[in-house]
Amino acid sequence: MELDNKTYKIAMVGSKDQILGFKALGLKTITANSAEEAREALFRLNGETVNLNNESRKKYAIIFMTEELAMQISKEDYKKLTKEALPAIIPVPGIKGTTGFGLSRIKKMVEQAVGSDIFK
């Protein structure tokens, strides 16, 4: 599919079992088995840009990654990656099921915005 001004791609980073199914759906998948590999993959995906009418912009709008890997990404790296409106880096539960990381992330957002967790 041709990329136009408003069309982006989706990527997924995770272990092989996890991403294989999504590959069939047409997502860009990158295998990562350790935190270091995941970190590299994230920076590489974030650095990929497309050139349109002499304007370059990011290629990927959403990067999904396994909760296990997302947990191990350091805060500094995460901040660097999410400085701009895109991409959205979203942890999703892996094959082993949810670790609660996704919900705790939401909780942290509430704490950040409100000052305390009001959904206890």
């Binding site: 069309t7 791609k9 989706i10 294989l20 759906l25 895109l86 950040q112 915005a113 409100v114 000052g115």
Partner: protein, 207 residues
């Protein structure tokens, strides 16, 4: 409260009074912005929570199907079957402006067939698993959109809260304190000049 380090002159007093006016107007504006952000954030975060729970359930089921499918097949065959997908997925992104925060909106576009392999060497479970994934994907995209929005709003809300607090508890009280200090100093100077004149007048009358 600490007073600012300025000269106690009438000029400074006028400047400071102007500053207080601006600061108070800014404070009011920022507080309104904070309220607006908070309202939007609350809406979004509630939705984010329900969607995430929903996604986690559905994804778990999809993975279970997929695990079953992969258990029925040779790993090499599974990989071969999924190696070159003909389905394509892309995302239309628009950014909306909420209280001067740019938040993204995603819209999923898919084309092509996900079941893009020979039926002979693959099991029926794989078809089912892929269909399950296909069903989850729109939800995942929705989750991504709403969590990213929540994240952006949370950052902005925190920033705004800090600014409101800084104005309310530091800048404005300091300015007020300084204005008070200067006006007292000026009054004192006025009194002292009056008494000075009175003293001179009295000594002239006595002479």
């Amino acid at each position: 409260m600490a007073k600012l380090n300025v000269n106690p002159t009438r000029m400074e007093l006028l400047n400071l009074k102007k500053q207080i006016k601006t600061a108070e107007r800014g404070h009011k504006l920022l507080r309104d912005k904070q309220d607006g952000l908070m309202q939007k954030f609350m809406e979004i975060i509630r939705e984010a929570k329900t969607i995430r729970k929903n996604v986690e359930d559905k994804l778990q089921k999809a993975f279970k199907n997929f695990m079953q499918a992969s258990a029925m097949m040779y790993p090499e065959m599974l990989e071969n079957a999924l190696l070159f997908p003909s389905a394509e997925t892309s995302l239309a992104v628009e950014t909306k402006n909420v209280m001067s925060v740019r938040i993204p909106h995603f819209k999923l576009h898919q084309k092509g067939n996900i079941l893009n392999y020979g039926y002979l060497q693959t099991s029926g479970e794989l078809d089912m698993a892929l269909e399950a994934f296909q069903e989850v994907l729109p939800l995942l995209v929705k989750l991504a959109q709403i969590e990213r929005q929540a994240e952006r709003l949370a950052e902005e809300t925190e920033k705004t809260r800090r600014r409101v607090n800084a104005l309310e508890h530091m800048l404005i009280p300091n300015l007020k304190e300084t204005v008070k200090f200067i006006s007292m100093k000026l009054n004192e100077a006025e009194r002292s000049s009056i008494t000075g004149v009175m003293r001179i007048k009295a000594s002239m009358e006595n002479a």
